[in-house]
Amino acid sequence: MSLLQVDGLTIRYGDNEVVRDLSFAIEAGESVGVVGESGSGKSQMALAVLGLLPGNAVTNGSVLLNGTEVLNASEKTLNGLRARHMALVFQDPMQALNPFVRIGAQLRVILTTHNLASGREADARVLDMLQRVGLPDPERQFRAYPHQLSGGMRQRAMIASALIAAPELLIADEPTTALDVTVQAQILELLEEIRRDTTLLLITHDLGIIAGHCERMLVLEQGRLVESGTTIDIFASPQHEHTAALIDAAPRLDRGDVLSAVAGNEVLQLCNVSVSYDERNGDSLQAVRNLSLSVSAGETVAVVGESGSGKTSLVRAALGLVPLQSGRVLFCGEELGGLVQSRPIAMRRDLQLVFQDPAGSLNPQMRVASIVDEPLLVHERGLSSEERQKQVAAMLDRVGLDASYRARFPHELSGGQAQRVAIARALILKPKVLVCDEAVAALDGSVRKEILALLGDAQKDGGLAIVFITHDLAVVRAISHRVLVMYMGRLVELADCASLYSRAQHPYTKALLDAVPTPDPAAAGGTVSLSGEVPSILSPPSGCAFHPRCRFAKDICRAELPLPRIVNGSIVACHRAEEISL
């Protein structure tokens, strides 16, 4: 008997079938990956197994766990299975853990309600579990509230809560999507350890994760199972075209051409820029420190860093959206005054911005055509309305949206379409610099690829300079000429794309590259080269901010701040760049 046997599972909301006739089985001890884009029904399937679908979901088929039917089972039956036989790790531990209850109490109540332990014994088992998932200082985390933990520690606590009653089946639904890449690598290593004695069903959109951690995989497309088999076979020769497209769309660090450097006139120069924010309690948060960067016409510079690295603050300061603490911003050699409000209108049009959340950055009350038209209304007052309409239509056409989209509202667009509108709005003024702040982070792999191609095309037509902010080094490789790596507000490395990927000079850059999962079972199995998480920016470590996490750190790294200097053609801020071999 299989541990989990799904037969003809169909989930419907009204007329909308989100899972269709899904059948598969998982044997005890296996680790199986489920991959699919958003809307493929993978999370719905997980919720169905746990009996957590909302009340308006209609289900058909059968889901057997150890021979017990869970579909439409009573709450009593389900509660007998949950925690002790099956458990779920959710995507975002910030949302999934109760912010009002201490971590220890949240885990303890699972043991007490299932009569597995009580009193001191329960406390001891919780502490033991916190230790097992690699939480430092378990006694302290036991008493901590979720917001007092870092993102990675929160997900460890979430995993601890799923494992505390020793379930046979652990379902992890995008367990690392909300985490930084180096933390993701640590959590994946933890899951790797867990799967030795627990059956793991790992749901993700990231083929790299499946390649490294699952023996078998299922590919879902719009609620249907399109392919299943061993991970090695599927990656080697995908049978279904959707699988092939997914594998093709997965960004890779180790493959594909990189763009060569662009020489030319510098359109945007940042000189010794610092940005700080005043905290309410009187402290100040130093988001960016003494950073210099110049971007040439026709060039794409990627700004890479984990959350809190200051990458967004840097470009916001350049755009005049936050005040500069010190330093200068030059546009075509001319100094741009502080905040955008104080810049002449004509100057503002040359710097445009595309945000991460496409839906949130479009006014829900306006139709697509008006959204794209709005910048023209401000900057091209001389144009007649026919002329503007023509320009809007041409621009929408250029971003791949035909005439039928003009009258739509943002909520009638998919994520990719909404991002196309946002790009059209930014490009309609023919800016010289386009800043993309995590512009593809919220998009599915295939859509992401299209949007990146669109940005590449926009650059080919003219001398558009693109500053591309991202946390994902795999995305960077395909589109950028140069890469700036930031850590805690400072420059870590600034290098040509080619040299960065072939020969990273800074241990942090190397760690970021290592942390990206490779979508290839043969090449997978990357080791975690970085422990710990980014320290609080309010109290940065002395000397080199990276030294507590760096295995090459020596006394000088703890004592002295490394200044950016040229090593092998790249700019690197590391005392030991020449000595160490990465």
């Binding site: 975002d92 999934a96 309600t113």
Partner: protein
């Protein structure tokens, strides 16, 4: 946290000062004085009395004199209950009113939160609709209607409970006044609890708790109750104010010698200092309770504490 508390207490001072100024002016703007009577006093005696209570001085001098007393905790002499200071009168009537108010508050919280939670858990069922309909009725009917109707039915027709504040009725005499005071608050709290409980039950961490196999009671007790109580806690300040206002009416109807009754008597007798004293006392009480609510907020929600 301490800094925050001190700042909040200091911030309350201007509010209190404003209340004193407004109350003082309004009392003095009312026509007639405390010693006007059908029996006209000889002018010399009237002047004597006015002199004794400093009523012959210009208004601003009277105010400053009064304020000086208030700062030292002296609310002045009562004009109608001679030989008593206002502070003494308030001190005498307070325990009974406090008793009634606290009981009403407790009853509102227990019944309101229970009913609201039950309605939220059985959303859109007969139970939910019944609770909400009753709550709507409770909010709509003012206390000066509820109290006499309760007396009429339970005390006069059915004769289960005493109608007034008779000494030999023991604890039973508390029942009708407390219920009259609590009913509108029960209704408000039930509605608030239902709404916030429904919100909380839809959050991701409740889904996690369900995934962990916790039953409904465990989920409410360990996960949902605390966050769902935040809006109810915010309402505690206004609720206390509403109960204070209600007690003015209820104490009069049931003949309870509490602060509310004293207030009404004071107003009828144009006892400036007594009315002023009680207004200032009420204002201070409400400000302090609101402050307490804010501090409790931080106790319940750990995320507020950090800021």
């Amino acid at each position: 946290m301490l800094r925050y508390t001190v700042l909040r207490v200091l911030g309350a001072i201007p509010t209190l000062l404003l209340v004193i100024v407004l109350a003082f002016l309004m009392v003095h703007a009312a026509p007639g004085g405390p010693f006007d009577d059908e029996r006209v006093l000889p002018p010399e005696i009237e002047a004597n009395i006015a002199k004794k209570y400093h009523l012959d001085e210009p208004l601003h001098r009277q105010f400053l004199r009064y304020l000086g007393g208030v700062v030292q905790g002296d609310l002045g002499p009562s004009y109608s209950y001679r030989d008593h200071t206002v502070s003494e009168l308030i001190g005498g009537a307070l325990p009974l009113s406090l008793h009634l108010g606290a009981l009403a508050m407790l009853l509102s919280l227990i019944v309101g939160v229970t009913a609201g939670t039950a309605a939220a858990l059985r959303k859109n069922t007969v139970l939910d609709r019944t609770v909400m309909a009753l709550a709507m009725t409770g909010i709509s009917i003012p206390v000066f209607v509820v109290a006499p109707v309760l007396v009429l039915v339970l005390a006069v027709y059915l004769q289960w409970l005493p109608a007034g504040w008779s000494g030999n009725a023991g604890g039973a005499r508390y029942l009708l006044p407390v219920v009259s005071l609590a009913l509108p608050q029960i209704a408000y709290i039930a509605r608030l609890t239902r709404a916030s409980m429904i919100d909380v039950l839809a959050s991701d961490f409740i889904r996690t708790a369900r995934a962990q196999g916790l039953g409904t009671i465990a989920i409410v007790r360990y996960h949902a109750l605390k966050p769902a109580m935040l809006p109810v806690l915010s309402y505690m300040g206004p609720a206390v104010a509403a109960i204070l206002t209600g007690s003015v009416v209820v104490e009069e109807i049931f003949g309870i010698p509490g602060l509310g009754q004293l207030f009404v008597r004071g107003a009828l007798n144009r006892d400036y200092t007594l009315v002023l004293g009680i207004v200032i006392f009420y204002a201070t009480l409400i400000i302090l309770l609101n402050l307490l609510v804010d501090i409790l907020y931080a106790v319940i929600d750990p995320r507020v504490r950090q800021r």
